[in-house]
Amino acid sequence: MAEFLMPSLGADMTEGTVTRWLVQPGDHVDRGDIVVEVETDKADMEVEIFEAGTIEQLLVPQGEKVPVGTPLAIVATAAAPAARVALPETSGPAPPLAEAPKPAAPSPAAPRPRATPTARIRARELGVDLAAVHGTGVAGAITRQDVEHAALRRAPEPAPRAEGRRLLVSPRARLLAGERGIDLATVTGSGPGGSITAGDVERVAAPTAVAAPSLPSGPAVEVPSGRPRAAGRGPIAALMERSNREIPHYYLGIEVDMSRALDWLKAENRKRPVPDRILASALLLKATALAAHEVPEVNGYFIDGGFQPSATVNLGVAISLRQGGLVAPAILDASAMPLGELMRRLQDLVARARAGRLRASEMSSGTITVTNLGEQGVDFVYGVIYPPQVALVGFGKVTERPWAEAGMLGVRPVITASLAADHRASDGHRGGQFLATVAKLLQEPEHL
């Protein structure tokens, strides 16, 4: 058996296109016969063969461009008839033959799919199983294009990290992730071979979320199932379990017309330099803090069988972490804080929470917690209280709704504020007053 190779028809020729085969499998050829026409960058040439024998197989279909040295055909010479299995794998690193059938491939007894050498190389590169590819080349052979099409069809699923496969992580990245409590399974690698580098870990630890898009999400949301249990979930799980076991929750909700607040905010932000602009989240937080100050039954701790109201409002803000998990650090004395300052604290808190640099005092000092799930499209939040606090305030998304006021029907941006409160510390009457106060305050945004 002999291979008939793409010849070099000039010193600078690196590849050639098979334009026409002049022989077919089964044809007898003699030394010097013209067997194929090849097009190079410079000319079309007729190529002769130097072996005598029978054309066993054409490996490169017409129209395909291949590098010099690529086997074009297999010739069964008189001395050695072609062995059908041993296809040449000359270009590219040749893997051991035993490796060639992919795990999903048919049993060893099944015939090896007919494919061009370039198709085989490409299939290896793209991880395509040749047995599943339909060939469009000569005699049904699989061409490089067939492989690439097959790879494209399969592409939409972004190859998930196979379970049990060890993540590629640089030693430094592993060290950093350990120090900062980052779950490496949540980090996308950008290093050599897709490995996770220190830079990748740092990006997860300190995302460029300084422009805090909205009030972050809170405890009512579960991370999608199937993910490994994320760092930080353990303590939260215990706390929430305790909350639902011990605290008799009641829930109230109120729809709030946000048109005045948003109009005012728009006008106000026009006056502010870009970095000082205020997000609607800050308005909601400030209204909540002021209302909690007015209705002290929702602001404080339930400890040792009794409610202890707090003189200041330390507003806990539920922040979901990118790598999973949840924290609710507090903005201290939020009710007394000017809006601009509150905004800055919020941005700072989100950035530090995601960088894992919160202070212990912030973690334990909240007297009431706010969670905003509007960004996730939630309408109504049925919150779970953060023990030993006694209330959790939730905000949904702002949506345009028909709204009747003073006998007129209009379309207004509306948000639903909800309260989950501890019935041992307050009742529905006071809870209702608290929500009504939030709603009222949001109608006078200039006083916030």
């Binding site: 640089s170 030693p171 430094r172 990245a173 060290l175 950008s190 290093g191 050599p192 490995s195 220190a198």
Partner: protein
């Protein structure tokens, strides 16, 4: 700060030999063709006229003999500079270098130092084929009892010799022959330099390129091209392969977290392998990518120009290795 003069590594080295001869009457130069012919790389041209045949000595073509003679002279109070034409020929004197020069201090119980300097040309790239082109300095760096210097800059061609002569023990200087013609600026008052420290030739943050000898200009050029791709490489000239300045190497890795070693030697059992091992031993947790290296292909160095070029480290292969190590995020 005094002015700078334009010169070549060859002239800088000749100036160093001349200075050593003038400063210390115990210093003399010997080797094949160093006198009448002026040295096969013309390093000692003119020195015979200046210092006479007593101090610029032509020797028979027997490396074992004249290296041995140098060892004897050094033990008896002189300060010989022995020139061996190329590192390939030095193997004929390997017994003298390894079994005598490197061990006599130890074997004599500390009675006899061997203050000998052996200079030899090394490296490929001149189409001198497989018996004149190899880079075996990494081999010599394996031997305790000697020091191995690999100048890669004009300053070091000018300054390493005197410091080597001052050393009480044998010092081997490997001069990459492609560098003899390297032109550059040298301070007018340039003189002896330290031989115990690696030197950061270019500070950077993206990765460390460790290099020495004939690979230094290539590495610096690669660094310039990498910079235009938004990568900020550090270039460290190892300068001395034995003893290795591990502290400077590790310090650089701690700052850049990535390393590529450029070594004209063959990779198996090479000095680059040793450096990789030390980086792994001492800064494993600092690494953000596998350490890579650019070495000479493991073949007897070819004669044909394009094949020789393909076998040796090149600017492009250094860039390629650096890009691989840096990965997608610069």
């Amino acid at each position: 700060m005094s002015g700078a003069v334009k010169t070549t590594c060859r002239e800088a080295l000749r100036a160093a030999i001349r200075e050593a001869m003038q400063r210390d009457s115990r210093v003399f130069l010997m080797g094949e063709d160093v006198g009448e012919y002026g040295g096969c790389f013309a390093v000692s041209k003119g020195l015979l006229d200046e210092f006479g045949p007593e101090r610029i000595r032509d020797t028979p073509l027997s490396e074992s003999v004249f290296v041995g003679a140098g060892i004897g002279a050094a033990m008896n109070g002189l300060r010989p500079i022995v020139e061996v034409m190329t590192v390939n020929f030095s193997l004929l004197a390997l017994d003298q270098i390894l079994n005598n020069a490197a061990t006599i201090l130890h074997m004599s119980g500390g009675q006899f130092n061997v203050p000998l300097v052996i200079r030899m040309a090394t490296g490929g790239g001149r189409q001198l084929a497989a018996q004149h082109s190899h880079s075996l300095e990494g081999w010599y760096a394996h031997i305790p009892g000697i020091k191995v210097l690999t100048p890669g800059t004009i300053e070091d061609f000018r300054g390493m010799l005197w410091t080597a002569l001052e050393d009480p023990d044998p010092v081997l200087i490997f001069e990459n022959a492609l560098l003899y013609n390297l032109e550059g600026e040298l301070a007018e008052d340039a003189g002896p330099v330290d031989i115990s420290k690696a030197r950061v030739l270019r500070s950077g943050t993206s990765l460390s390129l460790f290099s020495y000898g004939g690979s230094i200009p290539k590495t610096l050029e690669a660094a310039v091209q990498l910079e235009s791709r938004g990568i900020d490489p550090e270039v460290v000239d190892l300068r001395t392969l034995r003893p290795l300045d591990t502290a400077t190497i590790i310090d650089s890795v701690r700052r850049t977290h990535r390393a590529v070693i450029v070594d004209e030697g063959w990779r198996s059992g090479s000095i680059s392998a040793e450096i990789m091992a030390r980086i792994m031993e001492e800064s494993f947790y600092e690494l953000d990518a596998p350490v890579a290296r650019v070495c000479t292909a493991e073949v007897p160095l070819p004669y044909a120009k394009q094949m020789e070029d393909a076998a040796l480290p090149r600017v492009e292969t250094i860039i390629e290795a650096a890009m691989n190590v840096v990965g997608g995020n610069g």
